[in-house]
Amino acid sequence: MSRKTISGMGAGIIILLLFPVFLPRFYVYLASVILLYGLLATSLNLVLGYGGIFQFHHAVFYGVGAYGTTLMLTKSGLPAIFAFITGPLVSAAFGLVLGIICIRLSRLYFGMLQISLGSLVWAIVYRWYAFTGGDDGIHGIPMPEMISSPKSAFYFTFIITIISLYIMWKIIRSPFGSVLQGIRDNPVRSGMIGINVRRHQLLALVLAGFFAGVAGSLFVVVDNSVFPDMLFWTLSMEIVIMCLLGGWFTFLGPMLGAAVIVGLRTFVSMYTVYWALVLGIIMVLVIFFLPSGILGYAVEKFERGFRKPEGGEQ
């Protein structure tokens, strides 16, 4: 990373930290939601953009993490910290189980089967009143004093998001990260250089599930509630669009996409009920005009200015 990027990021972080000081309550809430959705989208991008795996129902892991944390908080009587660890771990375990079932299939069928199985999980959550609160969800979840106000919830979300992003960044730069990108580009070749393709993909799915679960737990902190919509497939589509819109071959693209989509959703919903329609139009526009997303486009422009492609055909 260049010095410029680092100072840019530093400035961004300071501005974000000052948010709660001068912004009204609603915007603090909105900023928290953007952060945790950004984390969620980044966790998806770990397997989608870097892994080339069509994880079409990522919201399941988000929802499972949120429910895991909530149920531990409300039913176990253990200290809250255990709840916040359990949620993501349950998501990771879920990532492993769904992964083992789906990984044998080719890319597109992987996505299809995942949508079906994920919808099954949604249906269970939706119906099981005694355990999950059914379609009502669970509201007014008690939070530890330290993170119970909107401001402290924001700071908590902020810190956890930054730490998670940092860890994911490290993962992408690691040998495992390189291998994952290699598998994305060319699974046959990866096998031929001695890589057990499915096992590596499985680890990626587990990691992505874990961080989706972290995002889910953060939502519980910010909103003090969970509901079945958190693992409905439309949310999964929204997360995919965040990645595509922001730029799925860039690390911070999904975060940017999350900011745009959550921002738009908030304001569009004030004027119309046709958010899904707007989302569909955005999707089509992105696919046709910005196939590598906003940040991907910016990076391409930026790089073209510096280095010209040298030699060679095509």
Binding site: P175, F176, V179, N186, M192
Partner: protein, 248 residues
């Protein structure tokens, strides 16, 4: 070293490889020749586990490796390059070879050490030996076709193989690139002691570097033998070499 016995593969009723036989001894350079669609690539796919055989056996160093997964076969130190360039196109030249080295060194499960500093020397050594060191930081998409074919070989070398399979290594290369590639293959055989199996359409190259030749037509092994034996064989003349403009 490698012993393929009556191996067969049928694709949707079409016998791509039909009871083919192939023997490669340690230190040899063996060429597989045959017209387009003869089943050469499929044979290589069968040996490396990318395609599962319907019947037949593959022995490597007296061990049965038939039907193993590609990554398991690669662990036995068999590497290959592909006919159609098959690299990681979003990664740089360096990263392409580095992944291969990291895989051999079993470091692919490491999720916290930055890979940028790992296996640099080994990777650079390989890039140097194939002549790609000055282009190490380019994205492979920006390479010329010839350089990508060489990168294919470099990636195969990352696995530190004993047995190297090259599928039409010089196809599509310019004349000068071709001669450099041939020198490279000779060097790998002579100084690094690799056993090499390759296929190639250019007879001049085949007779230039092969110690033995296997001729394949319509999925069957027509003959295996020294260059002279193959040159004089009538069946080969009829089936394959006869129609070509190669001067024998």
């Amino acid at each position: 070293m490698l012993e393929v016995t009556s191996i067969s593969k049928t694709f949707a009723g079409f016998k791509a490889v039909n009871s083919a036989n192939l023997t490669v001894r340690k230190g040899e350079i063996v060429a597989v020749i045959g017209p387009n669609g003869a089943g050469k690539t499929t044979l290589f796919n069968l040996i490396t586990g990318i395609v599962k055989p319907d019947s037949g056996r593959v022995l490597f160093k007296n061990e049965d490796i038939t039907g193993l997964q590609p990554h398991e076969i690669s662990r036995k130190r068999i590497s290959r390059s592909f006919q159609v360039v098959n690299v990681f196109q979003r990664l740089t030249v360096f990263e392409n070879v580095q992944i291969s080295v990291l895989s051999r060194e079993r470091m692919t499960w490491n999720i916290f050490t930055p890979s940028a500093g790992l296996a640099v020397k080994e990777t650079d050594t390989i890039l140097e030996s194939v002549g790609l060191l000055d282009k190490k930081n380019r994205t492979t998409a920006l390479l010329s076709h010839g350089d990508r074919k060489v990168l294919e070989i470099a990636m195969a070398l990352g696995g530190d193989p004993e047995f190297l399979i090259l599928d039409e290594p010089t196809a599509g290369m310019a004349a000068e690139e071709t001669s450099r590639c041939i020198e490279l293959i000779k060097m790998l055989s002579r100084t690094m002691g690799l056993t090499i199996l390759f296929c190639e359409h250019d007879m001049e190259i085949v007779f230039g570097i092969a110690s033995r030749i296997m001729v394949m037509v319509r999925g069957c092994t027509v003959i295996q033998g020294s260059c002279d034996e193959v040159r004089c064989n009538e069946a080969v003349q009829d089936a394959y070499l006869g129609g070509s403009d190669v001067c024998l």
